[in-house]
Structure formats: C-alpha cells, structure tokens
Amino acid sequence: MENDLNLKATELRLGLPGSDEPERQMTPRPNKRTLSDIVSEGSRSTTEEDHQDNAPPAKVQIVGWPPVRSYRKNCLQGKKDEVEGGTGMYVKVSVDGAPYLRKIDLKVYRSYPQLLLALENMFKLTIGAYSEREGYNGSNYAPTYEDRDGDWMLVGDVPWEMFISSCKRLRIMKGSEARGLGCV
C-alpha cells in the first residue's frame, strides 16, 4: 500500500482523510464483500448469495481463515508494512452500553469509510460521516481510539496510515458524551 498522504495530509479539503482517491474506497472487486458481511451471513449455501459463492473465490477475509494466530499475523505484518511496533493490527472495540467487546483487524481495511462501515455493520448502529470541523456531529455515536500515548482521539482526525500505526483500541462513545465531541 503506497503511502502518498505525506503532502496531501496538510492540504485543506473536504472529505475523509485517506479518501483522496475515491475509487480506492470501493473494494477492488465488484463482488467482494466486507468482513462484516461474511461474519453476519455465515456461509449458508442455499440463499441468493449463491451466485456470488460460486464465482471464482473472491478474496475476502473470513473470520478464522486462514488459521493463523493473531500474534503471528501482528508480528509479521508489523515489520512488513513498516508500521512501528505493529500496534495497529487486532484491536479491541468497545461500544458504550454493549456488554462485551469485539476485536477487529485494522489491516483488513484500507480507509476510514471502510472501517466505519464495518463498525456500523458489526454493532448495528449509525455513525455517519466525518467532517474535520464537526467530527461526527448529528450522530448518536462517535468512534474514538486510544493512541500509543494513551490519549483518546476522535477517529478520522489523522491520516489513515498514522491512525493504524498508533491505534491501540477503539471505543464507540454514545449519547451526549458523543454529541459533545463535535463541538469541542
């Protein structure tokens, strides 16, 4: 994944960080489903999705496949993509009010829109669109993350590559706390 955001990061523009190439937001293959689609639909072979299943294997990432332990994946990919310390791989995600945490692999996603969509699907909630000035204003939820310094940041503020190299865990805030963030 080439990182061409260094110059563009300081440009003023509307739109999500990491989305300077709009076509890259779309998944590379038309029948590729996101991770969350796979997880929620399972692999029932008798639904309309059959025609997709019978196509040449779309290279989606399926939970649990290939059977490589996260620790191993983190170790290799951390070095390979020159992400320092490999902290941006499997991270815990908590949602205010939900009884248990989830884990997601940040390496699966290429941009903020993909990540946000996956989170929305995983937790059945709406986060909405990010804007630099107002954050996720209008939404009941605000995605935040803890960075390597231990600080809690709003998801979307920094360029994507910087985000995945510094994100240690995610927390989706809810309610008034979340709405307040947009006006800080």
Binding site: R44, S45, P67, V68, C75, L76, K79, P99
Partner: protein
C-alpha cells in the same frame, strides 16, 4: 470369622504399586477395578488433567482427589486462537484457584491453556501455594505485570514460569524486581510474549546471573541484540534460548561478542526468537548449529540464500519451525541435511496476500517426506496441492501422527487435475495408521470423509473448514472415527441429521465445535433435551435464539460432555440448550 480373599494386599503395597502408574488412562483403569482400588487410588493420585474446565467442577475434583500436587486445565475451544470465540466467552480460572487454595496447600504445578487469568487469580496463587514450582500460562489472557509481580514476590520455590503466547497487559517492567535477591531457583523462563514496557532489562540480567540452574530462557522481542551477549555470558549452561529482536546495525564488537557468547554455550540445543532477523548476524550462531535439535525461525523474515545456508548447517535438527521464505529449494536442502527431522512447521509470510509471494508449493513437502524418514508431525501452509503429491507423501511417511495442511485459498482444487483433494487426504488416512491429528483444506467432497471414517481409527482431533457437501460427511466421521475426541468445523454445509443420528457419540468426545454451518436451533434444543450429560451451547451475537424460528441455523455451536451440568458464567451471547431452556420456550 472375616473372610480374607487370596488377592487382598495391604493398602500401602497397593499405593506403592500405583505410584509407578503415571498415565491418567492407566490410573483411571485401575480405579474402576473395585471399590478399594478406587479409594486407594484416589488418595494417591498426584496429577490431574482437565481437558475442558467446564466438564467437571473444582469441587468434584477436590472431592475425589484430595491430595493433588499438579493440575492442568484447558479453557476455550481451539478455534479461539483464530478469533472465532468472542471476548467474554468464559474459561475463568479464578473459581478453580479459589477452591484449590483451601484444598491443595501443597500444590506444586499449575498449567493453564486458553484460560482467562486475572491479577486477582495470580495474587491468590502466590498467597495460597507457597510450594509452587511450575506455572505455565499457555495462550492465556486477562492479567498484567502486576499479577506477575505477585508471583515473583510470593513463590519462593518457583522453578518454571512460562507465559507462552499469552496476552499480558503491560503496566510496568519492574515486576522482575519482585523476585527477591535471595531467589536463585529459576530453571525455565519464557517471557517471549511480553511487550515493550514489560521487562526491566537490568532486573532480568541480575535474575539470570544469580540462577545457576537456569536452562531455558526465552526473551521478548524488545530485548536488543547488543544485550544478548552479556546475558548469555551469565548463563552459559543454557539448553534452550530465545533471542529478542535479531536486528541491529552491523558492528564488529557486537558481532564478535555474540560469536564468543554463543560459542561458550556448550549445551545449547534449541534456539528461537529471531524477530526481525537480518542476515548479517546469522553466522554468530554457526558454532551452535551442529548441535541444534530445535530451531524456530518462524518470526524471522530472512530469505534464501541466507535461510537455506543456515539450515544446511544443522544436521541434528529434530524440530524445525520456519516461514515459507524457505521455499521448495530450502526444503530440499533440509531434506538432504536433516535426517533426524521429526517435526516441520512452515508458516505463511503473507497469509492474506492474493498472489503467492514465495515459491513454496507441494514440492517442498514432498521432498521432506522423502528425505526425512522420521518425520511424524507436519503443519504446512501453502497455496497449491495435488492428489498425486499427497499420495506420495502418505506413502513416504506412514508414521505420521500429526498432519495439518492449510491451503490458503479455501476450496482450492488439485492444481493439476482440477479434481477435489479427496483421494490425496484419503491416502494420508489410509497409510498413516497412527494418525492422531488431522487438519483438512482445499476442495473436498463427502468422499474424503468416507475415507476418514473408514481408516482413521486412531484419529483424536479433526479440523475441517469449507469442506463436504452434505450431512453424510459428518455422519461418516462421527460413526467411523472410534478414537475421536475433538472435532472442530467451520463453514461447512452440515446440518441436523448427522448430529441427531450420532448424539450418543458426542458423549464419548471431549467437544464439538461448529460455526457457520447449517445446524438449526430446533436441533440444538432437541439435543439439549435428549442428552442431559452434554452442554449444548449456542453462541449468537445477533440476539437471543428465542427471537428466531426453530429452523434458523445457529451461528456457532459448542457441544461438550460434562458432569458438572450447564455453566453459570456465560456471557449474554451464549445460551445453553438444556431441558429448562427447551421447555421454557415451547
């Protein structure tokens, strides 16, 4: 007058005889001969292995075996390793520790695998078991360095502390300082999983320096290469050593110090670590290579020719773990150099890549199977396979006990004939009569399961993904595999019929896992009603099962035998299908 049988011995003699019987199987057999043998045996059993912590309660174990010195517990199902079991599922060790604290004050060994271990549990361990000698936390989570500090401070007789593959919350590297200065009994220390702030190097150096019996030391990634020489010079008696990061700028002083340090470790037989390894520093271990029986390079990004060159210098290797950078060519060299090889594991360097990044194919495995007559255990990740290759491998290695093949692309066919790989895996189970563990992959129909049911009579653990076409496949396995203990299945079109028809079989097994299959809620409820000694756990993160139709497939199903009844520590997304559940909803 009291009748005396000709065959009654005084208890002390029987106890003495039993002390020579170490295996659980034999002990269990002896205990059911008669009531007096049962009594004598239970008082002198010292070791207990609980393969599923929910199969029995701590109270029951303590009641039957009042004087245990060594316990091993396993928690989460194996597929938890691949993120298929959500956080919060269970496997908590605290209830066990709490009960054992009072009952087993002389406990010496605790071994836990895939369990949730809190700092509170560790503090209780340190307080309650003053004679603790061995603590192994294999793939555990839930604790921090605070818990480790309690262990270091409290367990004065600790010989072995092994945290392999565990997830530890880092709080402070100073836990090592909690080993008192008078503590010198460490024999084995594995901290390879710890993160950046978790280990104070100076404390580690002092600890290593004052423990003359230290034989096994596995460091974490953060220990820099230029500190290794000093550490090794304090422990030249090491048999097994794991480096930290193996990358540094090439400096002649660091290099020569390392050469000398390794040279002085005359008993070193096993090496691991090698994170981020750079080729420049590989030759420093050459003096050790000829003696090495075990080498783990599976975290080392080194490639050929450096990798192959290293391997060719290790003729005594019995166990080799490596990334697929070794390629077919490197495996051919392994095959010709390492005639004592028993275990080979080849891991993918780029598991999610869409195109192969290395030239590792079935040919490498065929070469090793042909050149290494003692090969028994294989874990091999690659991207292409043929039935012909598998047949050759099976014929070359009839002594396989473990064969795990992972073709990275699910449902990939024989690349030469485009046929399913049924015949190939069929040959494996037919020729390898001692096969205990098998993992399947690639395009597979019901046929392979027929072969497995027919031939794999010693098979204890089977892992299946994206395979089979119908319930017949599952039926073949459940009805044919006499020794089956653990079956784990993901993304296969298996439904209710085979499961219900073989319900009784499930009581002879430790556990069955099925996720993303087609087992209906109704079938789960039926099983729950029919089989009171099985716990039928349905896991569904979309909501409670009663909100759905009986015919809806469940997301994840975990069935295990238990004498303890349903568990009470389930998270909100797990439901037990027991008689109460079924009747509540009908």
């Amino acid at each position: 007058m009291q009748k005396k049988t000709a065959y009654s011995f005084p208890d002390e003699i029987l106890e003495h005889v039993f002390s020579f019987i170490q295996s659980d199987k034999d002990r269990n057999a002896a205990s059911v001969v008669c009531k007096s043998w049962y009594e004598i045996e239970r008082w002198c059993r010292r070791k207990v292995f609980v393969g599923n912590c929910y199969a029995v309660s701590p109270t029951m174990v303590i009641r039957r075996f009042p004087d245990i010195r060594s316990i091993e517990l396993k928690g989460k199902p194996h597929f938890a390793d691949f993120n298929l079991v959500p956080d919060g599922w269970g496997g908590y060790v605290l209830p066990w520790i709490s009960k054992m604290a009072g009952a087993y004050p002389w406990l010496e060994e605790i071994r836990l695998k895939r369990m949730v271990v809190t700092d509170e549990s560790l503090e209780l361990v340190a307080k309650s078991f003053t004679n603790l000698q061995v603590l192994v936390l294999f793939s555990c989570e839930g604790f921090s360095t605070d818990g480790l500090a309690a262990i270091a401070a409290g367990c004065k007789n600790l010989r072995e502390l092994d945290l392999r593959d565990s997830e530890v919350d880092d709080l402070s590297g100073h836990w090592l300082n909690h080993f008192p200065d008078t503590y010198t009994s460490l024999v084995s220390l594995n901290i390879s999983c710890l993160g950046s702030d978790d280990v104070s190097f100076s404390a580690l150096e002092r600890l290593v320096g004052r423990c003359p019996n230290l034989r096994r030391l596995l460091l974490n990634r953060e220990v820099p290469l230029d500190k290794i020489a000093n550490l090794l010079s304090r422990a030249p008696q090491l048999i097994e050593f794991g480096t930290g990061t193996y990358a540094a700028e090439l400096r002649s002083d660091v290099y020569s110090n390392l050469v000398e340090a390794f040279c002085n470790c005359k008993e070193l037989k096993s090496l691991s670590g090698f994170w981020d390894a750079v080729p420049a520093y590989l030759p420093v271990i050459y003096s050790v290579c000829s003696r090495l029986t075990s080498l783990n390079l599976s975290y080392a990004p080194i490639q050929n020719p450096d990798l192959t060159k290293l391997v060719s210098q290790c003729p005594s290797l019995q166990r080799m773990l490596v990334l697929d950078y070794i390629e077919d060519s490197g495996l051919e060299v392994l095959a010709s150099s390492c005639k004592d090889l028993q275990e080979l594991r080849v891991f993918p360097s780029d598991p999610f890549g869409e195109e192969p990044n290395v030239s590792l194919t079935e040919k490498g495995l065929v070469a090793v199977s042909s050149g290494c007559p003692k090969l028994q255990s294989v874990l091999y990740f690659c991207r292409q396979m043929s039935n012909a290759a598998l047949v050759t491998i099976a014929q070359n290695c009839p002594n396989f006990t473990r064969f795990r093949l992972c073709l990275l692309d699910p449902k990939i066919a024989d690349y030469r004939t485009l046929q399913p790989l049924d015949v190939g895996f069929g040959a494996i189970v037919e020729h390898c009569k001692d096969l205990r563990r098998l993992s399947l992959s690639g395009l597979l129909t019901d046929c392979v399961f027929e072969y497995i049911g027919m031939h794999a009579k010693k098979l204890e653990m089977l892992s299946v993904a994206f395979a089979g076409e119908s319930d017949l496949a599952l039926h073949h396995v459940l009805s044919g595999c006499e020794s089956l203990r653990k079956l784990e299945i993901m993304n296969c079109p298996f439904g209710d019929k085979a499961l219900l028809a073989n319900a009784a079989k499930l009581e002879t097994m430790r556990s069955l896992w099925m996720s993303s299959c087609s087992v209906s809620l109704g079938a789960c409820k039926m099983l729950g009603q029919k089989m009171p000694r099985l716990n039928i756990e349905v896991m569904d993160e979309k909501g409670p099962p009663d909100s759905r139709a009986e015919s809806d497939p469940v997301d994840k199903l975990y069935i295990y035998r238990s004498v303890a009844g349903p568990r009470f520590d389930m998270p909100p997304f797990v439901w037990t299908m027991d008689e109460d559940f079924a009747s509540e909803l009908s």
